[in-house]
Symmetry: C2
DNA sequence: GATTTATATAAATATTATTTTATATAAATT
DNA sequence: AATTTATATAAAATAATATTTATATAAATC
């Protein structure tokens, strides 16, 4: 970039990187299906496998990704592991998403015609 | 899957696949940054390159992905191409996201304790 | 304590997406 | 018409991710 040019505020911002981190986690069919399933209540891994029609290690793997992202949590009861959504994390995801991609951010009369600075 | 077992409503649903299609498009740092930048108004490709500090073909490529997804549109003026957000598409994205991942979908007292069907 | 059941983890493989490099197009300017 | 400027596209190279296969752990039951 040429010297002196300032990057727009929204660029490189933490917020974008944080939203990106979350989107990367949820932008997967199986993980999206798991999240959707868990909205209805906690589920053990074997139920998740069955509902999604995926193998056990695959279910476990995706659950691990969701867990590491803080979106779900586990409760162990005997041999079973029950997974459920972490409400605070879903809330935060909602907020981040809307703060960056909410329609409310579009000014009235969008888009106004602009001219590239290079035009003579 | 064993015969007779019914898949939960939310599984395989069109809605999930449609949200997935959109998430795949926006789950990329550069595309997210482009969208963020366009919220402020239409921008020509050269401005986008500069702000994101990426090469011209890379900017063009990501813009093509966003365009194919219907999230942005182009207006040509001379040699310049001005990109802007498609309001209706952003609106739809907002709606889809909230319909599937909105916190409001979590029932009060979530998560209730469940038992796996296999428990004796 | 040996076996079974539910789940996790690691390694190997396959798939998909991103970035780079090279080239093409299209409008404007000389 | 030749050249320059802004943008697009295609091919090649890289990188990231998902899936499968194999194995480990941990609790429960026989």
């Amino acid at each position: 970039m040429s010297a002196g040019k300032k990057l727009a505020e929204c660029m490189n911002k933490d917020e974008i990187l944080r939203l990106y981190g979350m989107l990367r986690v949820i932008a997967d069919v199986n993980r999206l299906r798991i999240l959707c399933l868990l909205f209805k209540g906690e589920k053990c891994v074997c139920d998740i496998e069955e509902q999604l029609e995926i193998s056990q290690p695959l279910a476990s793997h995706h659950l691990a990704v969701l867990r590491e992202a803080g979106l779900v949590e586990v409760r162990r009861e005997g041999t079973w592991c029950y997974y459920s959504l972490v409400k605070a994390a879903i809330e935060e995801l909602n907020d981040m998403f809307m703060q960056i991609l909410g329609v409310h951010r579009l000014p009235a009369g969008y888009p106004a015609r602009e001219k590239c600075g290079k035009t003579t």
